[in-house]
């Protein structure tokens, strides 16, 4: 590997994977919860929540990054509190890049999980109830396993999209080598640098390979889960 990629390129690759991974890990439980609420709970303001969840899809990523900066920057409403009380700084850190990526890919994830949840047969949950399973028990033994294909599809899509997240990351977490300079940011930097074309080309190819591997992994995973569910 070390012969193929320069240390900076390796850093970018590692960061991209880390940022996308952390973004998915952080947002997946939240996305499942939000999808469940949007699908199963009838309450006033449901469409407002629905619209809010989908906002990152229609906002310019830079705007999302800016909003995050306002909220989670060191002087921001939450950011200040996090920094003073817990010593956590998000802006201009890898964690911040992951947060920005998570927010951007959140609607994709919720959408996939919602569709999966809508396809879960309520009759099976009713059957589980008659067999003595309480709400959480039903969720973890029936609902979640049955929506797993959708959850995994959502996670993989969000991960793949997260590898390429640019606008929100660069706005909120900036372009710090080894900290927040993920593949797309490194690619952008290379293009901006004089004589950076060969590096840019290599990074573009790397992104392509990564994308292909991601799609392939998604397909294999889907196949495995389908077999697990016995279909």
């Amino acid at each position: 590997m070390n012969d193929l990629l320069s240390p900076a390129e390796l850093d970018a690759l590692r960061l991209s994977l880390e940022v996308a991974g952390r973004a998915v890990a952080f947002s997946l439980p939240v996305a499942i919860g939000i999808a469940w609420i949007l699908t199963r709970v009838r309450f006033p303001g449901r469409s407002v929540l629905d619209a809010f969840v989908h906002l990152p899809l229609v906002l310019p990523p830079v705007a999302v990054g800016y909003v995050l900066l306002v909220l989670f920057g060191i002087n921001g409403a939450f950011g200040g509190w996090l920094h003073d009380r817990l010593g956590i700084q998000l802006a201009f850190t890898t964690g911040g890049a992951a947060l920005a990526t998570a927010v951007m890919s959140f609607p994709l994830m919720v959408r996939a999980i919602r569709i999966a949840l809508e396809n879960v047969d309520l009759g099976l949950e009713a059957a589980a109830r008659t067999l003595g399973a309480g709400p959480w028990d039903r969720f973890f033994t029936i609902t979640l396993p049955l929506m797993l294909p959708g959850v995994l599809a959502g996670a993989v899509t969000a991960f793949a999209a997260g590898l390429g997240e640019f606008g929100a990351v660069i706005t909120f977490a900036a372009n710090v080598p080894g900290v927040t300079r993920t593949l797309p940011l490194a690619l952008y930097t290379a293009i901006q640098s004089p004589g950076g074309d060969p590096v840019a080309f290599r990074l573009a190819v790397l992104s392509l390979i990564l994308g292909l591997l991601g799609l392939l992994a998604a397909e294999l995973l889907a196949r495995y889960v389908r077999r697990l569910l016995g279909r």
Binding site: A127, R129, G132, L146
Partner: protein
């Protein structure tokens, strides 16, 4: 005892049901499709909440809207066998069977007796359950063991399979086993045979009979097929358009006019329970003691002493005012006309008391007039032995 008094309005449909039936026993909820049978079992299970009413199973009040209480479905211990089985696709048969079993153990219900030893023999169980019921009725039935259910329902070879690898009949048997192993106090069966073809139904029915006879499990059986009711039920709750029109033992309900309105004139007939007094395996026939008389019926594979139910279709019964001679008819039941009820435009339904039991006969208006049938007229009810073929059923020894 299962006591239901409930009102539910839903999408322009109103269900109003009031009845009480003893337990253990098999209660058939019988009526045409769409009359509210499934709604009623859903109310009993708790999957639906009534607008008003009270449902009580033995000493446990399951729902009482006036008191504002309702036991959650998952705590009711009411097994439910769905028409479409509803097996969990991501579990094997074994996983499905264990689902309810594990949860019942976690709650500590249905523990094995003091020694925790091997399950008692199937035959002993019916007696034991009847014993505890007689003693006070609060005691739970003994634990239903995994091995016992697997054997009773013939599931041994299916345990490693996935639901999609099962036939319709196998699916229903697994659904039945899964519900049983959750250690229910009552088992609801919502047309478990409706999605099966004839051959598959014949495959599952004996298992249902085995449950009734060996586990003494109280059951509510939903059906719109009267032959299933005949084969399984001890009591019938007759429903029409969201109302309970009549209820009682199968024998009682079989001679009520409300049943005729649902099954049609040709399926009307009294249902009688008798004891086998003599068998003739070579001919596939047997003698049944019924009331004061004996009935020679088509019946195979029974032993002397077995309880057998026979349905005598009203249209098959001939009435004679004198003891006939030189007829091929093998059965002459002597009795007295109890009641004459108009049936079809040209027919009369005659109720004949044959010594405590009632036989129904449909005769033409002409015949009734010519023979001067009146309440109190002595008659002989003639039953062709061959007409009982397919209308005789073995029933539980204990219930």
């Amino acid at each position: 005892m299962l006591r239901v008094s409930t009102l539910k309005k839903r999408d322009g449909f109103t269900l109003k049901a009031e009845f009480e039936v003893p337990t253990p026993g098999v209660v058939a909820l019988f009526g045409r499709s769409g009359c509210g049978k499934t709604t009623l079992v859903n109310l009993i299970s708790g999957l639906l909440a009534p607008d008003e009413g009270r449902i009580q199973l033995n000493d446990t009040v399951l729902t009482d809207t006036r008191a504002g209480m309702s036991v959650p479905v998952e705590q009711r211990r009411i097994g439910y066998v769905f028409q479409d089985a509803r097996l969990f696709p991501h579990f094997t048969v074994l996983g499905n069977l264990r689902y309810g079993l594990k949860r019942s153990r976690r709650r500590g219900v249905g523990r094995v007796g003091p020694l925790g030893g091997a399950a008692p023999a199937a035959g002993a169980r019916a007696g034991a359950a009847a014993g505890t019921a007689a003693a006070g009725g609060t005691a739970d039935p003994p634990a239903i063991e995994f091995d016992e259910v697997v054997e009773l329902l013939g599931l041994g070879s299916l345990l490693d399979r996935r639901p999609y690898q099962l036939s319709g009949g196998e699916r229903q048997r697994v659904g039945l086993g899964r519900a049983l192993l959750s250690q229910p106090r009552l088992l609801l069966l919502d047309e478990p045979l409706a999605s099966l073809d004839m051959a598959r139904r014949e495959e599952v029915l004996p298992y249902l009979e085995a449950l009734r006879d060996h586990l003494a499990m109280p059951m509510v059986y939903v059906s719109h097929q009267f032959d299933e009711v005949l084969q399984l039920a001890t009591h019938v709750v007759l429903m029409e358009a969201g109302r309970v029109v009549t209820h009682g033992t199968l024998n009682e309900v079989s001679v009520r006019p409300e049943l005729r309105a649902i099954v049609g004139p040709d399926a009307v007939g009294s249902v009688l329970d008798g004891i086998v007094t003599r068998t003739d395996p070579a001919q596939g026939m047997a003698d049944l003691r019924l009331g004061h008389g004996t009935l020679f019926v088509s019946l195979q594979n029974v032993a002397v002493g077995a309880r057998v139910r026979v349905q005598l279709l009203a249209r098959d019964i001939i009435l004679a005012t004198q003891k006939p001679q030189g007829l091929s008819v093998r059965n002459e039941l002597q009795g007295v006309i109890a009641e004459l009820a108009p049936d079809d435009h040209d027919g009369v339904l005659v109720k004949v008391d044959i010594g405590g039991e009632v036989v129904l006969s449909r005769v033409t208006q002409d015949a009734a007039t010519a023979l001067n049938f009146q309440p109190g007229t002595r008659v002989w009810a003639l039953v062709k032995a061959v007409s009982t073929r397919g209308h005789t059923f073995r029933v539980a020894t204990g219930t």
